[in-house]
């Protein structure tokens, strides 16, 4: 029973982790709590589903179309919703993010309808046993994708020229500009990567639960936010850890305390961690310039 619930928790946790990675990266660079992330995730799932069912394309192509579509949406939001208020106080940017999120949800309802759509069975789901933990193929793919994306992103941010530019921009936009960094470029690049990560998460989750609907990004966005904060917002490995902790806590809470309180449990953990470590598990408050 315990090991079964642990596998359930790991599976759910890797989904949270996958969603939280893109979320935390955008925060790390632009210091924006990107509430559109959940809806980009939803758009990605819908784009891929449309490519798959309406256009009849194979899954890999649909997956790429979903990611490209989301990148376009993400860049448009960055251009039309964020850029005009970028110099204004952060709260304006934040409100624009919420507005853009509401817009995307309603746009999806208009185009695809409010009903839940089913994602066709594509991957042969097999069960594996590992030290008493049970996994299915799709769960492994999700966990694997989360780990691979985490490694790639950490590499990009830490070891490439673009990554250095991103870190500079995150520390001080004006100084970065003076040093000859094209900060606009960096910001759009960040949003493009963040959106493609969101889309990848959305498509995989859609495939896993076989359900895609316009409001799917709302709670996921919130949970990703919590996971990112638990892990230390801005820290990419932190998002991974935060996601897994949340997934396991929620599942074990539902199993051993009460299934009615599973969401409450996730938020209680958030409050607890913020009390003990205000900057999250892997967060480092010293780095931040005030």
């Amino acid at each position: 029973m315990f090991l079964d619930q642990l596998s359930n928790g790991l599976a759910l946790g890797s989904i949270y982790a996958l969603t939280a990675i893109g979320f935390t990266m955008v925060y790390g660079i632009i210091r924006l709590i990107n509430f559109v992330h959940g809806d980009i995730y939803m758009m990605g799932a819908f784009f891929a589903l449309t490519a798959l069912t309406v256009l009849g394309l194979p899954i890999v192509v649909s997956f790429i179309i979903g990611m490209i579509g989301s990148v376009v949406v993400g860049l448009m939001i960055a251009k039309f919703a964020y850029k005009p208020v970028f110099e204004a106080p952060r709260i304006n940017l934040f409100l624009c993010a919420i507005g853009a999120a509401i817009f995307l949800e309603n746009y999806a309802m208009l185009v695809w309808g409010p009903q839940t759509q089913s994602f066709p069975d594509i991957i042969q789901n097999q069960s594996y046993n590992f030290l008493g933990l049970k996994f299915t193929t799709l769960q492994l793919i999700i966990l694997g994708t989360a780990v691979v994306l985490m490694v790639i992103l950490t590499y990009i941010v830490k070891y490439t020229k673009m990554g250095r530019a991103m870190r500079c921009t995150s520390q001080d936009v004006d100084a970065a500009k003076l040093m000859g960094i094209n900060t606009n470029h960096v910001i759009y690049f960040t949003f493009a990567i963040g959106s493609s990560l969101g889309a990848a998460a959305g498509i995989l989750v859609g495939m896993y639960y076989k359900a895609v609907y316009p409001m799917m990004g709302f709670t996921s966005g919130l949970k990703a936010f919590v996971a990112a904060v638990i892990g230390g917002i801005g820290s990419i490995p932190g998002a991974m850890i935060g996601g897994i902790i949340m997934g396991i806590a929620e599942t074990l809470g539902a199993a051993y305390i009460s299934s009615g309180y599973r969401d409450a449990i996730a938020f209680i953990i958030l409050i607890f961690i913020l009390l003990v470590r205000p900057s999250g598990i892997l967060g480092n408050s010293a780095k931040e310039k005030v």
Binding site: M1, N8, L12, T116, S118, T136, Y209, K210, A255, G260
Partner: protein, 380 residues
């Protein structure tokens, strides 16, 4: 910038005016036209149910109008949208209640909407026929409101009896959605099932729309080793629960409520919902006088299969039209007809209302077989 603002203001004012005029444009038509109204969700999560109901009501009206109307007067339908939201339902109700030409209302689909709106209708003396299931709707405080579907209590009692007597199950595990509908039906089901001698081994809950991962609850249920899983929820979650039950290895028969009586269940759940049993009030293969004609003309007109809600809405419209024919085109007349009608021949079975304004009818048990909804082999 200023110009654009003015333009926006003008557009808004025009749209407001247009909204008003559509309400009053045809007022004062007198005896030539008769109006009844539909107040159901046309947008939002329950939109498809409202859509089916309006289609069915329109079909009933078209049939009457093609036959020359009621004493020469044509009948028209006004469609309101409560969006499935109890905050919006009173607005819709108030609009119809104030509109003197509206003689009767068919609706609200969601129980919480009906509960929110029923007082307004009752104060205006507006006869209403609803298909919401919450038992508090007919608590005697709103004599103008009639219910054409069974209450959740009656349904739960039928289901518990079916599970114990017909299916021969003794150990049930329950998954329910934590709202009035799910909690109410779970309490009544457990009570009757335990009175009969069965055991409820586990009761687990979930919040609709907040999580689509049910594996912790299902793993818990599996460990209690039930021989039946009763799911008191709607079709989206039920489809997901059925799929995830398979993946955690909970392989027992499933029993559901009328909340999953929809073709969408099969579209979402696929083979995982094969064999699931649930309540229905109508099925094209369960024939009463008029059922076949209704199903044929519905298919012809809309190219779709009518579902339970369509059939009940069609019967509601028919009974109101009959009332207008018998007692004249007034709200009071319709109400007095509804209070005395006996065995009105409906396509989902004969309709009479008891002293609490609840319909007296049985249930049908439906089953998903070869990815189609058919009546189950053994009926209660």
């Amino acid at each position: 910038m200023k110009k654009i603002m003015w333009l926006l203001v003008i557009v808004m004012v025009i749209s407001l005016l247009a909204g008003c005029s559509s309400n009053t444009a045809t007022g004062g038509g007198g005896a030539e036209e008769i109006y009844i109204a539909s107040a159901n969700p046309m947008t939002g999560d329950s939109a498809q149910f409202g859509d089916m109901k309006v289609k069915a009501i329109q079909l009933a009206l078209d049939e009457v109008n093609e036959a020359g109307g009621i004493n020469g007067a044509k009948v028209s339908l006004l469609v309101g949208d409560d969006t499935g939201n109890p905050k919006e339902a009173p607005n819709v109700a108030q609009r119809f209640a104030d509109d003197k030409k509206v003689l009767a209302v068919i609706g609200h689909w969601n129980s919480s909407c009906t509960l929110a709106a029923r007082g307004i209708y009752n104060d205006a003396g507006m006869p209403v026929i609803t298909d919401s299931v919450n038992k508090d709707i007919t608590d005697g405080s709103t004599p103008y409101l009639y219910r054409i579907s069974l209450t959740d209590t009656t349904q739960a009692e039928y289901l518990a009896e079916y599970a114990y007597e017909v299916m021969g199950k003794r150990k049930v595990g329950i998954m329910y959605t934590s709202n009035d509908f799910g909690a109410g039906i779970t309490a009544d089901f457990s009570r009757v099932f335990e009175e009969k001698g069965g055991v409820v081994v586990a009761t687990e809950t979930y919040h609709e729309g907040q999580s689509i991962d049910f594996t912790p609850q299902l793993t818990k249920l599996r460990n209690e080793d039930p021989d039946l899983m009763f799911i008191a929820g709607y079709y989206v979650e039920t489809a997901l629960i059925a799929q995830q039950a398979q993946s955690v290895g909970l392989d027992v028969p499933m029993l559901g409520t009328d909340g999953i009586s929809s073709e969408e269940l099969i579209r979402l759940g696929g083979t995982a919902v094969e064999g699931i049993l649930f309540t229905g009030f109508f099925h094209p293969q369960v024939k009463y006088p008029g059922t076949e004609e209704f199903v044929t003309s519905f298919r012809e007109k809309y190219n779709r299969e009518p579902d339970t809600y369509a059939a009940l809405a069609y019967d509601s419209a028919k009974i109101i039209l009959k009332a207008i024919e018998e007692k004249g085109a007034t709200r009071e007349g319709i109400k007095s007809y509804l209070s005395e009608v006996k065995d009105f021949p409906g396509v989902a079975g004969p309709i009479s209302f008891d002293d609490k304004n609840d319909v007296t009818r049985g249930i049908i048990i439906l089953e998903v077989k070869n990815l189609e909804i058919v009546p189950a082999e053994v009926q209660p």
